[in-house]
Structure formats: structure tokens, C-alpha cells
Symmetry: C2
Subunit: 552 residues, 2 copies
């Protein structure tokens, strides 16, 4: 029985027009596969929000069609949304060893480990998933065991890269699988869906091994302890630190919960090699001479509660920065974190450390020449730049044009856009529900724009609660008005202002009651307006005003 | 009558360990002069705060001793605190023409223009100010009419640079006064107090003229309008835009209030030259063909309410971005603004503009080679790096050591440190009150840590107000409890939660009343704790809880 001919759709639910929460849907008829399920961190105006995940209404609506979730690598912006997705729909998860190791940890926390089927991918994996036949290929990135997917569909072959760079001298000895990519290109690629993060950077991103050389030099020359902070998922870099320490006869202590967790997983899975005697407990650091110690730490982004930041301000339980220490920030600040990083560096300087905060980092994303290499290897008919803000997608498009992809065959998609392929012809054929779901504590999506607007107001000028009791019979003021303020002014220094405000409310109410106005809503509005005007005149501030009228 | 021999003190009240609110006090016996009176923009955690100025308690305490406020240049971080200072103490203000022009505008807004004496400085100005004899010398910076002060004191000569770079091909044809600096060096400099902003940058900062060349090329090649955003105070850059426009037969429209103001002042004072027919009104832009128009705009930092940002999101009254426009961000993001700038660039891309956002900017601050040049020209006995965060001051110190200043003659001061010079010997001799005063609306210093802590709490999880009326006689609940929430959850979707919370409060109060607990403070504490625990269990959030108990 021949399958009825259907169309292929590619639908980004995350990761376009933004950095983070990567998620792409592939649909052919009644079969859906999903690539990645990431989170992103909240924008500044999302006050109190912990994380943001994609709106997956479309997937929930079609959950019986989902044949699998394919994960490119273990970074939060590719796996962080999984627990929330798996609570709403059950689908098998495919990923490499390390990726699954990191996912397992998450699912355990959310009580989802038993109900989720996970399948490990290797170099030769081919997965039949409904109408799709998905092969895995290795790429380089700032976390081991990273790759992309070659997705065979009835419409043709789609290559989906995930995050990548081409590292010709990778730390784990496994370069990107250029042979497979070249073979896809020869075979014919319908569409390339590729990472745009570094589309704005010229040239080639240096090999991670360059960082290793610098780390080795620092460790060999440091007169005392070396404290090196980097991303907790950058196992390759951690490996290079361990290797340098072993070469120079130093012990390695690991601090910071996520780094301790990840290093355990990486060792178990064979992604990180260390002699059994190299790793020591953070409690034992002081048992060794300073020149025999390297400390691997979280906090390279200046996160206020991270190990390095706590060490820097002398608030870490186990380790304190002292003169003679060499502190290395093997990272560069993620946009938005610059001020936190600068603050941490300053505190480290003040603590007397020698601080190295530039030049011990390379990006995990390919620069322009690598993006062009990917385009030339795969020679796609259609090109879909993803994983980037709009200008990155746009710049990536220009690179594609440079290597010969016609402008009309490039699609810069927005969230929810349905890119449809029908008999080899592509067009944007509609849009499905897509966007952001904000997570605050246990609440998924229960904080909306009204709540955020209130938090914004409250954060700027605070709140005044005005409480008054009116007589049931006469409508007259029985007690109050009492004004309670939070986040507005320091009460002790503003007594006169609050006294005047109280009198104003009293007069306003008395006048209204005399005029026989007695609907509470009118009274509240009058109080809010009169008090708001008065306070703005007096202070040029606009606190939230919450009138509470009681009856007795 | 010989003056009694006194000590010289240098006291930074702002601009050390931080970027911004520059202010340095020089005292000799009963004579004080102040160099600069700047503001800084609030840190992220200073919610709702508009600006931050130095704590000038020390100056107020000694206000009868103040002989003058000497201002190096017209940037906000050097003049922005003046209105607040002049409200608390009256002192003559010394500055160059443009600097005073910008100050005048400020004082007018604050009603201080009549009561403030202002004296204009030129290349040959020497001011006798009590024990001090202050000469002015020109330097280069990103605003014209910038300089520093040579302060003769009975203890010796102090050179105070303000912000500077050495531009050998300056736009206004006036290079930094290296001859005077060399002469001071020959004469003997007791101490150099110098700008550390770019101490971390290697090499030489390029000349502003380099930017002019790029602007000219962009203007000559652009197929349509050129919209160029830069700092509203960078008159030199604005001059280069005007020059390029005139060379290529284009008109110039200026948008953004601060830029319109500054360009008027600059033209009046002869700091900016434009043919009368070049400048056109923003309303008339559409009367000219696009290839005949340049628009100078504010908003190069992606400020949400600025002209460029409003144009980018199609919310500007007069000008809309259309395909064919070339938009130039002649700036680099100030730390903390990266995300805003990126967002604006993205919106410009989406609007179809060709956006040039890199490479059309040079810093106004000297890099390492220039800082060393300043040190070598002035050959100070003591060195005081200012205007920078701690790591910049520290790195500047290392440069000074490289050119031969002994480590023990370098003083990295904290706010309020008193650096005392006595018979040619320097030491830190104490500390005066110093710090930050936060300005929120009309309130100067009335927002303290308690208010900020409350704003932070409110911004994260909002507030719940719990209102209940108890009977005067029995102590029993007469009405309520009513729970009103703002910024916590969206009420309509959380009715069950709030119902349960209400019942919990009711039960808590009933139980306490039955146990004869009736002090309001105990009741409030019990409500706050029970409700806080319940809400945290249910939501993992910690809203502020404000119990209000009334009696009837």
C-alpha cells in the first residue's frame, strides 16, 4: 500500500530571532519529529522569571504524531526544555551518550526518568521514525558528543546542524564528520538548517586546543594555586585543565555543583580522563602546597551565587582567594553578563589575585569561513539559517548567497512559520502557535503580561496600600485611612509626606461621601487618582496605589 | 604674614573603584577646590533609581572653605552632579566655553542659573583659588573643549587630567597641549591624577579623524538616506557628519532632544560649523530625495525611548526606517547596554535597512601607550590612577611601574580616602564620608537599602495583601480575610490557589484567637509565616506578604 503523497514542513518553535530555546519541528503527513527542546534565560524585563521555554501548543495538539525527539547536544538551550515537554507529551528521546547523561539528571529531578524512553546515538546510528529516516553525524562544539542530523524525508534529505564549529585538532581526537557531510552534498540536499550564532564573525574560530596551550603555560608558570573558571559543560576544556595539572604535578579540586555533577558524568561515560590520584576533594585543598593545586570552578559568568563569585567576595565555605593565587576566567561574557563578570574580576583583583580574564577562550560556534564550508559541503537547494537573532540569520543568508545559494531559496523564518516543501518546491505556507512560555518557580505559563507589568511598576516605585473602614449605615469613615508603603520611600524620613497623603485621602473620601458617592469602585478610583497626582507632584514617582475599603 | 604650613590632601569623592560620578577634592588648610561633579547611572540592583551622585557630606561640612569647582569637560559623568551640589553649597564654577554652555542648560532646569557664578577658562587661564593656583591645559576627548588642570599648591604641583586621549590629528585642529605637560614635567610634578578608563587596552587609541573617513565613505556610497546615531555630546563626530554631508551635497536633519540642544549650543559657541543651508528641520526630510539626506540621531545605545529605537520600531512621529536606508551606529555599546543595542540593530534589520554597526567608532580615552606618554611627559613623584574600576586603576598602576614610578609611590584610592602630602611625603591619612546618593524623581537620598530591598522583593514575586477585620469585643474574624495580589499570579487562572490561601489564613486566625493570642503583631507574624510557607510549597515563589488587621 503506497503512502499517500504528503508535504514536508519545517517549523521552528524556538531559536529563530533569538538566542536560546532551540526547537525545530519536522512534519510529513501524520509523522512528526522534533529536533532539540531548549530553554532560554529571561530577558531583563521578565522580572522574577526563572527560565523561558518554547510554546509547544502545536506539539501538544499533534502529540499522537510525534515519533521522537532528537537532541543534537547537551547544552541547556537544546535540552533544558525537555522536562516541560515530556510532562505534556510522551516521546522517545534520541541523543549521544553524554547528551543522554545530562538529560537523565534533569529527568530524575522532575520524576520523569521511568516514563521516558531514551535511545543512545553513535556514529552509525540510523533511526526510522515514521516517514523519517534520521542519521547522526558528529560535529565539534564546546561540549563533547555533539552532532547534527541528516533527515531523509520523502521530499528529500534535510541536514540539520545544531551548534557547530570545525575543529581540525579537537581535544577528543574526533573531528567533524566532513566525509558524511560531503557525501550528503553529493547525494543531494534539499535543505540545510544551520547554526547562525557566529555569522557576524569573520574568519575561522580557533581550535579548542589553542586554549589548552594557554592553560598549560599558565599552570606551569603560576607561583601558587591556579583557580580556573569555565562553563561547567565544557568537558574538553576541563580535560585540558586536568591534563595540564597532571603534566605539572598538580592536584585538581572541583567546586560548584554543576561542575562536580558534570565531571562525574563525563568520567563515567569516558568523556574525561583523569588519573585516580589527580582529583581531590575541595575540603583537602589546604593539605597541599599552593603550587601543587589547581581548582576548577563554576562562575565564569560572574553569576552572583556561583563558586567563583563567592570565593571572590570571601563568602565561600571552603576556599578563599589569597595573594599569590592565579585566577583564570576561561570564558567570555555572554551578552547581558558583562557587568557581573567585571564586578567579579574587580573583587578578585581586590583580594590580591593575579587575574587572567582575556584570551583563554575560544567560541564553540563556527565563524563565517566555517559556515561557508558547511554550505559548500552540503550544497543545499534551500537554506534555512536558524539559531540566532534576526541580524545573525540575515548575515548568514548573505554568506549563503556568496557561496551561490539564490536569494529566493533562502528562508529566514520567524517562530511558528511553516516552511512547506511540495515536490521539491519550498514556500512559507502558514504559521502555527509559537512563542515563549515563562516559568516562575513551579508555575509554567501562569505569569503573563499583567503580572509582569505589575512587577515592573512595583520594582520602580513600590506600592502604597490605603486602608479605610466605612460605616455600613452612614458611609462615613469609621477608621483609617491608614497608608502602608513598601518600596516607595523610607517611612521614617517621609512622615510629613505620608501624613499629608493620609489627610488628602480623608478629605477626598469625606467630600465624596457628602456628595452621596458610595460605590466602592468610584471611591477607589477617586482615591487612586487624587493620591497618585499628589505623590507625583511631590516626588515625581508613580507608586502603585491599592485602595482597600472595608465596611463595618 | 606667612601662612601657617599645612598639609595638602587629595580626596576622591567619586570616580574611583567605579566608572562615573567623578569628583575629586583638593584641600590645603582652610582652602578647598573641587574638580568635577559628575553623576553615574544606577546599577541594575538600584531599582527605580534615576541617577546616582557622590555623597558630598564632607563638602557640605566644609562649605565655607570651597574656593571653586573646576570642571574638566561637559560629559554627564563630570557635570551631571553639579545641580545637586550647588543646591547644597554655593561656589564659583570654572570651565571652558562648551562645558559652561552645557552646564548652563542644567542649571536653568534646576533654577540655579542666577545664583551661580561661572567663569570661562581658555588656554591661558590661571585662577587663584585660596592656596591653589589653577592653570588649564587642553587635552583630546570625545567632546570638544576638554582639558585638565595644573594645580599649584604649597606642597608642589599636581596635574589632574580628567578624561583624555592624545589625538594628533584632532577634528578641531587643537592637539593635546603636550608642551605644557612637558613643561610641568621639567618643572617637577608632585602628583599625577589620571584617567584609567582604557588602562586595559593595548596600543594607541585611533584619531577621531579615522571615523570621519569612514563616515565620508558611507555617505558617498549610500544609495538612499543615511541615518547616523552617535553620542549627543560628540560634537566632533557630528561635525564630521555635517562635513561629509556638505561634501556630498546632502542636507542634515537632527533628531533627538539632547542632540538638537547640543548642536544649537555647539553652533552658537563656534564648536560646530555648518553652512546655513545644510541643516534642515526633521519635518522637512521627506521634501528631499533620499540620496540627498543625512539624519543625525540619538539612540546609539539602544535606549528604549531614544529617536533611533523609536524609528526602528516604527514609533517615531516623523521618521520611519524604510528599505534603502543606511543606518550607522557610530558608537560601541557601553557595558550593560549590549542587549538593548542588539535589539535595536535587529529591529533595524527587520525594517529592511542596511545597518552598519561596527567599526565607525573610536574611544575618547587613551590606551596604554597614551597613558605611558602622559606619565613620561609629567614625570610625577606620586601617581594616583582615578576614573576607573579597581582593575583599571590597578592596571594603570602597572603601566606607571613600567615607566619607572616606584610601587610605593602609587596610591590606588577608595572613595573618601584622604591622600595627604606633608613636606613632599605622601600617605593615606584617613577617610572621610563618601559614597553614593541615589536620586529617584525629586527625592535625593530618600531611597535607601530597605526601600531597594523591598523593590527587589516586589519585582521578583509581587505582593499579597491580606485584609481582615476582627471584632473589638470577641477578637473573632468579622470580615475577610480578603487576599489581594499584584505581580504574583494571574488571579483568574489561580483562583483555587488563592481560595486555599484564604482558608489557610482564616484557620490560622481562628486557632490563634481560640488560644487567646490577640496582639496584632503576633497575629500578623503568624499569618505571614503560614501563608509564606504555603505559597512557597505550592509555587516555589516568595511574594511579599502584607497582613492588615482592622478592628470593628
Amino acid at each position: 500500500m503506497a503512502r499517500k503523497r504528503q508535504k514536508l514542513s519545517i517549523i521552528p518553535l524556538g531559536g529563530v530571532g533569538e538566542i536560546g530555546k532551540n526547537m525545530t519541528v519536522y512534519r510529513y503527513g501524520d509523522d512528526i519529529i522534533v529536533v532539540d527542546a531548549g530553554l532560554k534565560f529571561p530577558e531583563e524585563e521578565m522580572l522574577g522569571i526563572d527560565i523561558v521555554i518554547p510554546d509547544i501548543s502545536y506539539l501538544v495538539e499533534h502529540k499522537e504524531k510525534i515519533r521522537g525527539i532528537f537532541v543534537t547536544h547537551g547544552h541547556e538551550d537544546h535540552i533544558g526544555g525537555l522536562p516541560y515537554v515530556l510532562k505534556q507529551l510522551n516521546a522517545p528521546v534520541y541523543g549521544t551518550g553524554l547528551t543522554l547523561g545530562l538529560i537523565e539528571n534533569k529527568l530524575k529531578e522532575h520524576g520523569l526518568l521511568e516514563t521516558t524512553k531514551m535511545y543512545k546515538l553513535t556514529a552509525d546510528s540510523v533511526v526510522e521514525a515514521g516517514a523519517f529516516r534520521v542519521s547522526f553525524f558528529y560535529l565539534n562544539h564546546s561540549i563533547p558528543d555533539t552532532g547534527g542530523f541528516a533527515i531523509e524525508t520523502p521530499e528529500g534529505l534535510v541536514v540539520h546542524t545544531g551548534d557547530f564549529k570545525f575543529d581540525h585538532t579537537p581535544v577528543d581526537g574526533r573531528p567533524a564528520d566532513v566525509h558524511k557531510l560531503a557525501a550528503y552534498g553529493s547525494q543531494g540536499v534539499l535543505a540545510l538548517v544551520a547554526d547562525s550564532t557566529n555569522a557576524e564573525r569573520e574568519g575561522f574560530t580557533p581550535s579548542e586546543r589553542v586554549v589548552g596551550g594557554k592553560i598549560d603555560e599558565i599552570v606551569s608558570k603560576a607561583p601558587g594555586r591556579v583557580i580556573l573558571a569555565t562553563f561547567a559543560s565544557n568537558i574538553h576544556r576541563m580535560q585540558q585543565v586536568v591534563t595540564a595539572a597532571e603534566r605539572h604535578d598538580r592536584k585538581v579540586a572541583v567546586v560548584g555543583r554543576s561542575m562536580v555533577n558534570n565531571i562525574q558524568i563525563a568520567i563515567q561515560l569516558g568523556c574525561l580522563e583523569a588519573q585516580p590520584s589527580t582529583l581531590i576533594d575541595a575540603d583537602d585543598v589546604n593539605k597541599y602546597p599552593p603550587e601543587k593545586v589547581v581548582i576548577l570552578s563554576t562562575g565564569s559568568q560572574g553569576e552572583p551565587m556561583s563558586a567563583l563569585t563567592r570565593m571572590a567576595r570571601a563568602a565561600h565555605r571552603k576556599i578563599e582567594i589569597v595573594p599569590g593565587d592565579t585566577v583564570v576566567l576561561a570564558s567570555s561574557p555572554i551578552p547581558g553578563n558583562e557587568k557581573y563578570v567585571a564586578r567579579t574580576i574587580d573583587q578578585l583583583f581586590r583580594a590580591g589575585a593575579h587575574v587572567i580574564y582575556r584570551g583563554v577562550h575560544v567560541s564553540g560556534h563556527g565563524s563565517q569561513e566555517e559556515l561557508k564550508l558547511m554550505l559548500n559541503l552540503t550544497r543545499p537547494k534551500y537554506f534555512v539559517p536558524v539559531h540566532g537573532e534576526y541580524r545573525m540569520q540575515k548575515t548568514h543568508s548573505e554568506l549563503a548567497m556568496q557561496v551561490g545559494v539564490p536569494e529566493e531559496d533562502i528562508f529566514i523564518l520567524d517562530l511558528g512559520d511553516v516552511l512547506e516543501f511540495d515536490s521539491g518546491h519550498a514556500q512559507i505556507a502558514g504559521r502555527v502557535t509559537a512563542g515563549s512560555v515563562m516559568i516562575d518557580g513551579l508555575g509554567v505559563g501562569d505569569v503573563g503580561n499583567i503580572v509582569l507589568r505589575d512587577r515592573k511598576l512595583l520594582s520602580q516605585d513600590g506600592i502604597l496600600v490605603v486602608v479605610v473602614t466605612l460605616s455600613k449605615e452612614t458611609g462615613r469613615v469609621l477608621s483609617g485611612p491608614d497608608i502602608i508603603s513598601r518600596g516607595f520611600v523610607y517611612v521614617r524620613e517621609s512622615e510629613a509626606l505620608l501624613d499629608d497623603a493620609t489627610k488628602l485621602v480623608e478629605n477626598t473620601l469625606t467630600r465624596l461621601v457628602a456628595d452621596n458617592v458610595n460605590e466602592w469602585s468610584s471611591l477607589k478610583t477617586a482615591v487612586r487618582e487624587a493620591l497618585g497626582r499628589f505623590l507625583f507632584e511631590q516626588t515625581r514617582r508613580r507608586p502603585m496605589i491599592l485602595p482597600i475599603i472595608m465596611e463595618a
